[in-house]
């Protein structure tokens, strides 16, 4: 226990430094703002700010980017509630009861409860993070290369299959991503692979251009095409109208408890993130409610449960990410990329080799959630006015910012062409119903996977049975097989025969 306290002390002394506090605030505020903007998510924001992190100390960079991630999980609810437009995917379900509440004049109450629920969810997730991660780490430190491979395979497969309609397509994206991660010079042999004769690709795909293209540019293309530019109504939210009644509180807190529990659990699973967590919490809440018909008409539980759930999920997504180096979601995957860029190797040894980074980051989560709570209640009016920025102004800003950001990484115009290529690819992939998140997970984990695969086989002198040679490895691979099997059964059952 005293270990935990000394770690927490270390963490807070790092997180409370002036620089890290500033970056935390920037991250949280930016995250809320971008989350509130319909059409742009945390992923694009993180990708856009990736180049800036090169000039910043890694802990500060991670704190800021993480702040964007969970800030967006809160901010998305603002436009969901006020405009019936999801700010982020994970807040889509909040529209169902949040918008009716706005129509009933109770938008302020919904926003207030959301802030509280999000804070609570974040706290619960954070508690789990702090207690579970050291435990997981001590377990994972005993892994050999073969176990790493099995674990990564499990993580990638789970990420691909847990939330998909087409297991084949998601698996294809993961494998393709891993292949793309191999582009460049092979460290072991010096062989240049898949570089199409372009020298700037010898170092591998520029991750910033790829991420921004897949999640930023393709999103812009899609939204510009479908957005008719309808004017958004201006909703005024006064401070007094925000205070919930005692009945509201009484109904909300059990929903928050259930939601945070569900979200915490789901967030840990690689591939299942805030989106699924929020939907499940809503579904569960509806099922346990005394009067389920109230849902969809402004039931406050329909707002507090999913909001608590998605913030919890966002926090616990860091458990596999920080403890094992397996991202729980696409956004933590980008954070892993930031770590690698700064020369920090993610994985179980991360906590022991960089304790100030791990505990500083964890402590910053608490500070960030507090900031979200404190800042957002008075700032509601500001957000409301900001989300009425017309899309035709927003789009050129984001495209230009993306260009400058990508270019600033290496001052290489070729990166901009990569940005274009992946922007188009992302758009085509969305049309063909392929998952971009699975792709980027593969790209980021690919090199690690190959390295461990190679090492495992060298140690085992080419004997493949090493992968089923230890109970841990067998367990991972067994789980993988289970997930694959259940995904296929699910898909087979859903498949409707052609007319």
């Amino acid at each position: 226990m005293s270990d935990l306290f000394s770690n927490l002390y270390l963490g807070f002394s790092v997180a409370l430094s002036a620089q890290n506090l500033i970056y935390c605030t920037i991250g949280v505020v930016l995250g809320t703002f971008i989350g509130a903007l319909p059409g742009i998510g945390a992923l694009a924001a993180i990708a856009m700010l990736l180049p800036l992190t090169f000039y910043v100390e890694p802990t500060a960079a991670l704190i800021m980017l993480a702040g964007i991630y969970y800030g967006a999980a809160y901010g998305g609810s603002i436009s969901s509630i006020l405009l019936n437009l999801p700010g982020t995917a994970s807040t889509a379900v909040t529209c169902l009861d949040g918008y009716p509440m706005t129509k009933q004049g109770r938008g302020g109450v919904a926003l207030f409860i959301t802030a509280i629920a999000s804070f609570w969810g974040g706290l619960v997730g954070l508690l789990l993070l702090v207690t579970m991660t050291p435990f997981l780490v001590s377990f994972a430190l005993r892994f050999g290369a073969a176990e790493y491979v099995s674990m990564m395979v499990l993580g990638l497969v789970a990420a691909a299959l847990l939330s998909t309609e087409s297991p084949f397509k998601s698996l294809a994206m993961v494998v393709l991503g891993v292949t793309m991660g191999l582009i460049g010079t092979d460290v072991n042999t010096g062989q240049i692979r898949f570089a199409f004769g372009i020298p700037q690709l010898y170092e591998g795909l520029p991750i910033v251009a790829v991420a921004l293209g897949l999640f930023g540019i393709s999103e812009m293309i899609r939204t510009a095409a479908s957005r008719t530019g309808a004017p958004m109504e201006n909703r005024k939210v006064t401070f007094r109208s925000m205070i919930p009644s005692r009945a509201d509180w009484r109904r909300s807190w059990p929903a928050m408890l259930r939601g945070s529990g569900i979200g915490s659990f789901i967030g840990v699973l690689p591939g299942a993130g805030a989106l699924i967590a929020s939907f499940m919490a809503y579904a569960v809440e509806q099922r346990v409610h005394q009067r389920p018909e109230e849902f969809g008409k402004g039931a406050i539980e329909g707002v507090s449960a999913p909001e608590s759930s998605n913030n919890a999920a966002v926090q616990t997504a860091f458990i596999p990410t920080l403890a094992l180096g397996i991202p729980g979601d696409a956004a933590p995957a980008l954070l892993l990329a930031v770590m690698m860029i700064h020369g920090v190797t993610p994985g179980p040894q991360f906590m022991t080799t960089h304790p100030e980074m791990f505990w500083g980051l964890t402590a910053s989560f608490l500070i960030g959630n507090l900031l979200l709570l404190i800042l957002n209640i008075p700032l509601i009016g500001v957000w409301v006015r900001m989300i009425t920025i017309p899309y035709q102004t927003l789009l050129p800003i984001i495209v230009t910012l993306s260009c400058v950001g990508v270019y600033s990484v290496a001052y290489a115009p070729i990166h901009l062409y990569v940005l274009m290529a992946f922007g188009l690819l992302g758009f085509v992939m969305a049309f063909l119903q392929f998952s971009a998140a699975a792709l980027i997970l593969g790209i980021i984990l690919g090199p690690l996977l190959e390295e461990n695969f190679r090492r495992a086989l060298i140690i085992a002198r080419g004997d493949y049975s090493t992968f089923v040679g230890s109970p841990i490895s067998i367990a991972f691979l067994g789980l993988t097989a289970l997930i694959i099997a259940s995904a296929f059964f699910r898909a087979l059952r859903q498949r409707r025969p052609a007319p």
Binding site: T179, Q191, I221, A225, S226, T400, M420, Q433, F453, R454
Partner: protein
Amino acid sequence: MNRTGHEAPLKGKPLGFEPVHFLAGLLVTAVGVYVLVNGFGYGIGTARRMGAGYFPSVLGALLVLIGIGIVVFDARRADPVAIGDSPVRSILAILAAIATFAVLIRPLGLALAAFAAAFISSFASEKVTALGAAVTAILVALGAVLIFSYGIGLQMKVFPL
């Protein structure tokens, strides 16, 4: 999740399979073949001493199998993929904007490249006017220069000197 705009179903009689999924599977298989062939080209080596092409070959083979799986399983699904509003305008505008930036940034510097990118990409929206686009572009260029050159201190040419 289908997010290609309005849910206008494909016109025409039901084909018995969904061509989009078929195409998707074909693409994956084609990529898989490409990766596999190149993987062999890089030299496979043995499991004990993997060549540069060992892992890619494994991945390529997997892709081929998965691609076939997509064709066999998904193409038979009858849920049509909606083709929404034509994205051609936004694709052209946005990609042209990025390409213009790429071409202009070295010779002409940040200010002009940012202006060009912002101006061109504005035309992705249908409701844009040339004047509105120009105004936005000037503001964006100004902001970009302020934030990136003066604020963060990036070492790139701002004006054509």
